[in-house]
Symmetry: C2
Subunit: 270 residues, 2 copies
């Protein structure tokens, strides 16, 4: 594993960093395959947008390009996590006057999931933790992730690959580490993320690909009952790609017709 903190090989950061103090930052996780960072354009754009949304000046593209290339060149097949924080500053919540973001890039082995997750599909559960409505932070992949931690801590059964998250009104928002796609009467639907949740890069790519292939995609609130009656449910993220949900509790789904399409779209490096 390698770590670059502001471009320097070093695996620690200051205890005064606002990323630690307040979760005052954002992050990305992306795959590197054969030395190439997958969907890097998308990831950089999302990192930039997320920084902007909370008033952090995003590191320059050229700087991140070089650092990602350095790690990707050394490790070839790896995950890279990029964290950008508001940097160190005076004590207190007020953002520092001369903010210098801290950028942290770290590699981790590509995650290994059971083949069955891809060939057959996964078993998921409904988490009891409900996501809070915070429109000011919704969609952003920021470092305030205690909700995800507490939701993921609800189960310790290796058979369950993911946990679905509802908002305070009982709408399904996504899962602890992935976004949800629902197939309903031939249409693709993904939850509205303007009040909570994380709007991942692969979700944005699917929405774009669907438009390109003239397949209707709707972004809307999805009540739990409605989701459980869907024709097909698919989870997506940058780490594992796409998995079909085959079982939630006593509800089971057959092998779906859309999972192959979604996987094909995601494997297009556009």
């Amino acid at each position: 594993m390698a770590v670059l903190v502001n471009g320097v090989k070093h695996d620690e950061i200051s205890v005064h960093d606002r990323g630690l103090a307040y979760g005052d930052g954002v992050f990305r996780t992306l795959r590197v395959e054969s030395g190439t960072a997958q969907c890097w354009d998308w990831h950089f754009r999302k990192l930039h947008d997320d920084c902007t949304a909370i008033g952090i000046i995003c590191p320059d593209r050229i700087v991140l390009d070089a650092e990602v290339a350095e790690l990707a060149g050394d490790h070839r097949d790896t995950l890279i996590k990029i964290i950008v924080t508001r940097g160190t500053g005076e004590r207190g919540y007020a953002p520092p006057r001369n903010p210098g973001a801290t950028r942290i890039l770290l590699t981790a082995p590509l995650p290994v999931y059971p083949e069955r997750n891809y060939d057959f599909g996964i078993c998921a559960r409904i988490c009891s933790l409900r996501l809070a409505f915070q429109p000011r932070l919704a969609g952003i992949k920021h470092l305030n992730r205690l909700e995800n931690v507490l939701a993921r801590a609800e189960w310790d059964d290796a058979e369950i690959a993911e946990g679905l998250l509802q908002d305070a009104d009982g709408n399904v928002v996504g899962a602890t580490m992935s976004n949800l796609l629902m197939v309903e009467q031939g249409a693709l639907i993904t939850p509205d993320l303007t009040r909570c949740g994380v709007a991942g890069v692969q979700r944005a790519r699917v929405i774009q690909a669907a438009a390109q292939h003239h397949m209707p995609v709707k972004v809307e609130s999805i009540a739990l009952d409605r989701m459980l009656r869907a024709d097909e449910l698919i989870l997506i993220n940058s780490g594992f790609g796409a998995w079909q949900i085959r079982r939630i509790g006593e509800v089971r789904w057959r092998s779906g017709g859309y999972i192959g399409t979604i996987r094909r779209w995601l494997s297009d490096q556009g």
Copy 2:
């Protein structure tokens, strides 16, 4: 400034610490005066309760006693911030199987506020950011503090000492770094913090002291309009003690009769 990370003088932590990755931890800020940590019993109890609330095993009292005493002995008059995180672990939201909390103690100079804040009172504002309802995390002083950061970033006017925070329904919850006490027809009222906000140690001390002095205290939802009609408004925290609010926008308050009482209660080291 001095820093102890797990008892060792060192001012950095691992980039793999979950405190940075997810804000997966809690914290305290307390005053040391003449070498004595103020309200240490209260702070330890709250730290312990907050750790327990999110499933972190709190460091032993005896260990923290020694580390607080070490910093307090060296610095005499200082702030100490204590951060406890879930420690480092494998990648992903799932809490590690053998969690070893990281404890970080750091000193900072005692904050210097204008004398006027104590003698006269302060000017406050109403923040536009609304706190999200998350009963699972309400009251806990955890490291997910982006709401406070964004609220505090709303103003840059040194005349305004604090910003009041409302919840999504428009009830006043407290302020960016302090708790609110409201005096209404001789009764003391403090906002209900079961759906959002931070339940500070000084608020708990005031509630206890009021009971001891047979003064009624109510904990309830306080709509903004009602707060603005209050007889007296007081903000409290462990850093500055107690300030009376004298002005919010065009609404002004006279010098109040309760601020002295609250300050006396808080200065009792019980």
